[in-house]
């Protein structure tokens, strides 16, 4: 068989292929953008939509809403995956695009808690759930659609463009938020400006909808449909059939579970760690993460291409192993670079203005402490040297992300046959990423807080802290999950594709 043909169907022409990749990637990118602006604005949203008397409770509520957005993704994968395997890939991922766009725009229009009371958080929660459902259906459709247009020996390279969208979507969400913030006063942003990134989404969705509308259905799906070979009950075939279900489990435990936690550690936990544990300034943190993401994005395509040459398994497992071995030293170094207690203070530059204490340090870093009642809020602005060092450390983590995530779409597509592909690949992907990965910031933050509280309590009693480095405790979650996934992947995954047709 010709290496450019897929299941007896000639792969699409180069021009068509790039159109397919462009249209699919753009839509998926917008969906990720929509999904992440909520997470990036979690602190602002918590003050607007949740009872304001207890900021911690409000923030936790937002995290819970955030988690709800992730937990619901597998249900979207099942619902839209089934539709995609019955009526087609193209129509299904157009529905998910519109659902996501409408939900995002609506979040930007919901009045705050002070205006409509308890209806505000309920509405936001419902819209967030709809976002999760839409995302659950989108990714599998886009990856399957591109893979089914591609030549088999370039599937990793072609689908890796879809893989860049999650990172680029996060990058654009951070950039839009920063641009919006910088174009108005802090009061205006807090008052209404935070709604702008949500409303911008509606324009992008309309553009992407019209581009996608003109695309053809996947050639493999069209052929299967014309031959009457599509599944009438993809859910039953995927999960009720032992032969397929064992591969769903293998995909989850041997690949997507580890990939999910590495993705969220490198991109989200790094952000949360810098802001909440190291107390680095909000804008500077976003700038650090944005720089690292921008520098690392091209590697998704590189590792996708490499997986066509040497196989998906070695590339993904190498990323997992490197992450497991180096996370603790990387995060420890990030902590040290932002820790003002070990920096040399320039005493003559210390000033106090009202309830604000400001200090400067010899490496160009500055720190402020704002007293509000009994609580003191610390903010660190790191100097140039520390900035680039932290950006490099985040970039290394992004590199791990590109190794595990670049080839995963091709890997999943090749694990399952056409008739149940959308359903079968979407579920392990969204359970691995949405549940194991999505809950990472909350679980890791919980572990760090628990260790810090245990240290404080122990110091009051005996003076001995049980945790030497409590700030690193959160990393046990991704290390453990990725460790199990690495062993399962190493032993049970095959390097050869199983369902290349």
């Amino acid at each position: 068989m010709d290496e450019n043909s897929v299941g007896g169907v000639a792969a699409s022409s180069k021009k068509t292929l790039w159109k397919v990749i462009g249209a699919s990637s753009l839509g998926t990118l917008i969906e990720w953008y929509d999904f992440y602006i909520f997470g990036s604005l979690a602190i602002v949203i918590s003050t607007k939509f949740f009872p304001p008397d207890n900021p911690t409770a409000a923030f936790l509520s937002t995290l819970a809403t955030f988690a709800a957005g992730f937990v619901v993704r597998p249900f979207g994968a099942l619902f839209f995956g089934r539709l995609g395997d019955i009526i087609g890939r193209k129509y299904t991922f157009m529905v998910t695009l519109l659902l996501m766009g409408l939900s995002t725009c609506a979040i930007g229009l919901v009045p705050g808690y002070q205006t409509i009371g308890f209806a505000a958080p309920v509405l936001v929660l419902v819209l967030r759930l709809l976002q999760g459902l839409a995302l659950g259906g989108e990714y599998g459709g886009a990856a399957t659609y591109v893979a089914e247009h591609s030549e088999p020996h370039k599937r990793g390279f072609r689908t890796s463009w879809i893989q860049t969208t999650a990172t680029v979507g996060l990058f654009i969400s951070l950039a839009v938020i920063m641009l919006t913030k910088s174009s108005m006063s802090a009061e205006s942003f807090d008052d209404w400006g935070w709604r702008v990134p949500f409303l911008i989404s509606s324009v992008m969705v309309v553009v992407s909808y019209f581009i996608r509308r003109n695309m053809d259905e996947s050639p493999l799906f069209k052929k299967a449909k014309s031959e009457g070979k599509t599944s009438s009950n993809p859910l039953k075939e995927s999960f009720g059939n032992k032969y397929n279900f064992k591969f769903v489990l293998l995909a989850l435990f041997g690949a997507t579970m580890g990939q999910g936690v590495i993705w969220y550690t490198g991109q989200f936990y790094a952000l949360s760690f810098l802001q909440n544990v190291c107390h680095v300034d909000f804008d500077q943190t976003n700038f650090i993460i944005g720089t690292a993401l921008l520098a690392g994005t091209g590697f998704f395509v590189f590792f996708g291409w490499l997986s066509d040459r040497i196989g998906r398994k070695p590339v993904m497992l190498a990323g997992m192993l490197l992450a497991i071995l180096t996370y603790r030293p990387i995060y420890d170094r990030m902590y040290q670079l932002t820790d003002v207690t070990v920096k040399q203070e320039l005493v003559d530059q210390q000033r106090t203005e009202g309830n604000i204490l400001m200090k400067a340090y010899d490496d160009g870093s500055t720190a402020t402490w704002v007293s509000e009642g009994e609580s003191v809020k610390q903010t660190v602005h790191v100097g140039k040297g520390a900035f680039f060092s932290i950006a490099l450390l985040v970039f290394i983590q992004v590199l791990y992300v590109t190794m595990v995530y670049g080839p995963i779409a091709a890997f999943l597509v090749e694990m399952f046959p056409v008739r149940i592909r959308y359903t079968s690949m979407s579920l392990p992907y969204h359970v691995g990423n949405g549940i194991f990965g999505g809950l990472l910031p909350a679980v890791a933050t919980y572990l760090v807080t628990k260790a810090q509280m245990a240290n404080t309590a122990a110091q009051q009693i005996s003076g001995n802290a049980p945790y030497e480095k409590p700030h690193l405790e959160g990393l046990w979650y991704p290390i453990l999950i990725a460790g199990v996934s690495f062993i399962i992947g190493l032993l049970y995954l095959k390097n050869k594709n199983q369902n290349v047709q």
């Binding site: 509520s61 937990v71 032993l491 049970y492």
Partner: protein, 74 residues
């Protein structure tokens, strides 16, 4: 290699059960009984989402491995 894959099936089943025990006894029950509203959501996620996926999934995966479903055909 096939023998190792099969033997490790037992490890995955035990790991699934241990994870389920930890999630329910150490996490979910204390949070359900803490009386705090903010603990309710994580407790529900642990009990009804994470536990079935991790425990159920790993036990079935381990069982399949034990039965030789993932063995390489020579």
């Amino acid at each position: 290699m096939n023998t190792i894959k099969r033997i490790l099936g037992v490890v995955w089943i035990l790991l699934g059960l241990a994870a389920g025990y930890y999630l329910i006894v150490s996490q979910a029950i204390p949070q359900f009984t803490s009386g705090k509203t903010e603990d309710l959501v994580p407790a529900i996620i642990y009990t009804f989402i994470l536990m079935p996926i991790i425990t159920g999934g790993l036990c079935v995966f381990g069982w399949y491995a034990l039965q030789g479903e993932y063995n390489t055909v020579e």
